[in-house]
Amino acid sequence: MTASRQIPIEFPVRTALGVDDFMVAECNEESIAWLDKWPDWPMPALCLYGPGGSGKTHLLHIWCETSKADNIDGRDLTTDIVPVLLESGHGLAVDNAENCPEDSLFHLYNLAKETNQKLLLASKQAPAHWNIGLKDLASRLRACPSVGLRYPDEDMLAALMMKQFQDRNLRLSPEILAYVLPRLERSFEAVRQFVTLMDLESLAERRKLTVPFASRIMDQMEKNKDGR
């Protein structure tokens, strides 16, 4: 039997999603500015795109709070529920919009325009890269402003890491931060993975969060990547 490892319970993490919890940094300043401008948007839709963990969902939540709009995942959009979704008159946020069935999205866009409501479409990539078959939809979306959430700079990474640690009721020591930042891949996903592993592994092994421990976690992340 090789070294056995206790698997820990994965408690759900209460991610703080309030407007005060969102960290504004250069890489997302533009998107914040656009959201602040609502309802003063030139077109019926605003497209927000960026990699996983970039804060799109958080921004969506904030906008929904402000606008009182509902929130739906792109996969769940169907043509018949479009009228229902826009019933309230507050607009609609669509997460993973690139997964919407094209005709449903087209229908949604048109109805929003008719009823003077705004749509916030969030996706991993800009609509220009969605490979849209329906030409009319493609042209409409092309005309809408789209804002990218850029890859984070070091300050943003640090702030994100701190926040995610805090969400899990853990403490990020300056030593660990200083050690990890230069070594971690510059992506929101990498931060998320690192924090999740730190939490679960330390719980599993009942270990304190130290630099050597963080180093082990990073090694593990490397191995996982290669394994894929």
Partner: protein, 373 residues
């Protein structure tokens, strides 16, 4: 005047223990700042009081702690006005219980506490085991007040691990928990701790200013006396005023006079001193006198140990120091200081001896020692 507080042990260098001082004079600006912070409803959770030692930082720290634990004190009006002062009277239950160590929502961290791991007193620093107890304390809800207060006197005494442990809760404090950190040398504190705290600077007032303030407060006070008091209070206007209110300078003069010939005490002078202190209304004066003796012995010992000679309070004091230096070596003076201080505390429980008797006895003990018997 004040209720005589019960102090279990005595390690104060200051003329009055910070825990006792009911009101802290000389730092009104800082007091107002704290009051404003409280009244704003957004009180920051960690405060760092910095400045030279002995000028009243810890005193204001305790006062603020009392104020918070009393839910904003008594300064407000009947109609829910905001408090206009940090003062809490000695009669207030919070005051008593903080003094006795029996307030369940207050935790002090300082040198000389019992280390729960080693079961020994940590004389020289604040070890991590004690910091951990404070953290466990802050992780529990308050039992009496709406708030919890931790006072660290002084943050400079936290050892490396204790500082790191404390940093954890400074970064993620629970709601309604306040940390008050006292520091005499903030340059040496962990920058991460400093960054979490709002800083409150305390300045010691130059002797010149203290004596000026004294003369303005006490018009009957002569310039020379005012200067002597300023030097005696080491830059703290609060202490200077407390001394003046309790005849401290006269007492000090009598003491110096006696200590100019410790091996051959003037009995007249001794009895005169004892009489002064044994009067019914002299309870407070006695405490000031006892603290002065303690302070002066420490001053003498430092000089004997090689410290340079500080500015004398007045000429006779300088001569008394010289006389004592010539009489006995450091070791003997250490012994003498202990004996005298011990005797002077016998006015408290359990001995409860008469003040007069205690004063005479203390000095006669010194004389015996000085005579080499």
């Amino acid at each position: 005047m004040f209720d005589e507080p019960e102090i279990a042990d005595e390690t104060n260098v200051a003329l009055l223990s910070p825990r006792d001082s009911l009101s802290v004079k000389g730092h009104e600006a800082n007091e107002q700042l704290l009051l404003d912070a409280w009244n704003s409803g957004k009180l920051h959770h960690a405060w760092l009081f910095t400045g030279p030692k002995g000028i009243g930082k810890a005193s204001l720290g305790y006062q603020f702690a009392r104020f918070i634990l009393a839910g904003g004190g008594e300064g407000g009006g009947l109609f829910g006005d905001q408090p206009d002062s940090l003062k809490i009277s000695a009669e207030h239950p919070v005051y008593r219980r903080m003094m006795s160590g029996g307030h369940s929502d207050f935790q002090i961290l300082e040198k000389g506490m019992m280390n729960p791991d080693t079961k020994r007193v940590a004389e020289n620093d604040i070890p991590v085991a004690i910091a951990r107890k404070a953290i466990e304390f802050i992780r529990l809800t308050p039992a009496e007040s709406d708030w919890r207060v931790i006072l660290v006197d002084a943050a400079d005494d936290l050892n490396r691990n204790a500082a790191n442990a404390l940093l954890k809760v400074l970064e993620e404090p629970p709601a309604r928990a306040i940390f008050i950190l006292i520091s005499h040398a903030p340059g040496r504190l962990l920058p991460t701790i400093k960054s979490r705290c709002r800083k409150l600077t305390f300045k010691s007032i130059p002797d010149e200013s203290v004596s000026e303030l004294l003369v303005s407060q006490y018009p009957e006070l002569g310039n020379e006396d005012a200067h002597a008091l300023a030097r005696l209070s080491e830059g703290s206007i609060g202490k200077a005023m407390e001394l003046q209110d309790n005849g401290g300078l006269d007492l000090f003069r009598m003491v110096v006079s006696l200590l100019s010939h410790p091996q051959d005490l003037s009995l007249t002078k001794l009895h005169s001193l004892a009489d002064t202190l044994s009067r019914k209304d002299a309870k407070e004066n006695y405490i000031v006198f006892r603290n002065l003796i303690d302070w002066w012995f420490k001053r003498l010992l430092k000089i004997l140990a090689g410290d340079h000679m500080p500015k004398p309070i007045f000429a006779e004091e300088y001569m008394a120091i010289e006389a004592c230096k010539a009489l006995m070596p450091l070791g003997k003076w250490l012994e003498a200081a202990d004996l005298v201080n011990e005797r002077l505390w016998q006015t408290e429980a359990p001995s409860n001896l008469d003040r007069r008797q205690v004063v005479i006895d203390a000095f006669l003990t010194l004389e015996t020692l000085a005579q080499g018997r």
